[in-house]
């Protein structure tokens, strides 16, 4: 037809065309994010835009908490005080011991000319909310680029390792908990020094030691601390306790489940540990020994 009717009702492209455009855009973003991590600046811009909304949304909970703090009873305050004084007392004794040990350690290290470990600095952060995503275990804390947080920092609470900073936004950062599926922590058995890799399972309160031979000496109740060989987590921080060891001769590896020591799913304040020490550069690709740190899924 030569003459098309005049466009009385200009509505732009049809819904299907628009759907295809926006789907293509989303898929591009998904691939760019999942495969190549290109989108950090874009994420940060979006994060900065919704930051006020995020803060306001988490405000009622923190206000309620503060009001709750205000109305504590006298007896609970006194009990707290007594407990803290006692803890302080016992900690003081340990601290003195620690100072002696540190001095001794420094001497010994100097003797064997080992590299000195730097002091670990920590920064307290408040948990704003847990990510509302049933697929992952993440929390959002209120410290970000402004406080010189970097991705990869370890996050601890007063009892042990909580997780690792995985994304940093201008004023917030995202912490992946050690219970997240596939989150790995290189650990060491405190009792006998055996090294292993602890992996999250995606369930709260359940961790799993991977690739442990059947005859390895792990028992119920063994305490696992970070081994520090990854250069991410400072060595010697408590992580988990072995809760169940299952040895089935039909399988290649022992099935060892552990429970995290830190209150991984239940805290309001955490500490972000700054870069513990400078790690020597990774060995070149060719001569890389088989690393237990990043096993393939399976």
């Amino acid at each position: 037809m030569e003459y098309s009717p005049p466009p009385f009702f200009k509505t732009g492209p049809t819904p299907l065309v628009r759907l295809l455009i926006f789907s293509a855009l989303s898929l591009t973003l998904l691939v760019a994010d999942a495969r190549f991590n290109y989108l950090t600046p874009l994420r940060q811009i979006a994060a900065a835009i919704i930051y006020p909304l995020q803060r306001t949304a988490s405000a009622p909970a923190s206000i309620a908490r503060r009001i709750g703090d205000f109305f504590v009873t006298h007896s609970s305050l006194r009990a707290d005080n007594a407990r803290l004084a006692e803890e302080n007392f016992s900690n003081a004794a340990r601290l003195q011991q620690l100072k002696g040990l540190q001095a001794e350690n420094a001497q010994l290290r100097a003797l064997v000319a080992a590299r000195e470990r730097l002091n670990v600095k920590v920064l307290a952060a408040e948990v704003l909310y847990a990510a509302r995503d049933p697929f992952t275990r993440k929390i959002i804390v209120d410290k970000g680029l402004q406080d010189e947080i970097k991705a990869g920092r370890a996050v601890v609470d007063d009892r042990g390792i909580v997780g690792q900073v995985t994304r940093v936004y201008p004023w917030l950062s995202e912490v992946t908990l050690i219970t997240d599926k596939g989150q790995l922590v290189p650990v060491q058995n405190l009792r006998n020094g055996l090294r292993a890799v602890l992996a999250g399972t995606g369930n709260d309160g359940v961790l799993e030691l991977r690739f442990v031979p059947l005859n390895a000496d792990f028992r119920n109740g063994d305490e696992l601390v970070t081994s520090g060989i990854d250069g991410v987590y400072p060595p010697g921080l408590p992580v988990a306790q072995v809760s169940n060891v299952e040895r089935n001769a039909a399988q290649l590896f022992a099935r060892i489940t552990c429970t995290p020591l830190a209150g991984v799913a239940s805290h309001t304040r955490v500490l972000i540990v700054s870069e513990p020490r400078d790690v020597p550069p990774r060995p070149a690709e060719e001569q890389r020994p088989p690393r237990p740190k990043k096993p393939r899924k399976g």
Partner: protein
């Protein structure tokens, strides 16, 4: 149960674009509240719900761009893959816009029965993307939120229609 064809129809004022934007921001706010534990499972996706509502009621005033942008914000807030909610909301908006004449034929329960499958579709898209990225199936409680959202649909409709109610005419009081 009132049937839309027989019930007395209200003539509503045109909705202001500012009001649509406000409700969308409010929905984003509700999604950002610190939900935790069991509440996380029960929580309806307010953004999906409000986007779907406006796509059905005012398909010319809300576009794919708004739905898509809100999806991006949700992805940033939850720290999920960039674009998964965006894709899901875009498809939801498409479904809402294509089906809006049909859904508006109904009212009450039949309308809810149209809305719930659409929200489940939204969940399924997110689930599919996560499965491709290597996540485990989180269990069937994952879908509870959409049924809760379906239950919230009628009150939401009443609430969002309130500002469009014509003011009583002082000359014909």
């Amino acid at each position: 149960m009132a049937d839309a064809r027989t019930a007395p129809q209200e003539i509503l004022l045109p909705v202001r674009p500012g009001f649509i934007a406000l409700t969308l921001i409010a929905a984003l706010f509700l999604n950002l509240l610190p939900w935790a534990g069991y509440w996380l499972w029960v929580r309806p996706d307010f953004v999906a719900l409000v986007v779907l509502y406006w796509c059905i009621e005012e398909p010319r005033k809300i576009g794919f761009a708004a739905a898509w942008l809100l999806g991006l914000f949700m992805d940033v807030a939850d720290g999920t893959l960039f674009g998964q909610h965006a894709l899901a909301y875009a498809i939801l908006a498409y479904a809402g816009i294509v089906l809006h004449r049909r859904v508006r034929m109904f009212s009450g329960t039949p309308q809810v029965l149209h809305v719930i499958p659409l929200l489940l579709l939204n969940d399924l898209i997110v689930l599919g993307i996560r499965a491709l990225a290597g996540a485990d199936f989180p269990g069937f409680q994952y879908f509870i939120g959409s049924f809760v959202a379906g239950a919230l649909w009628p009150p939401l409709g009443v609430l969002l229609r309130l500002p469009q109610r014509p003011k009583p005419d002082p000359y014909h009081a």
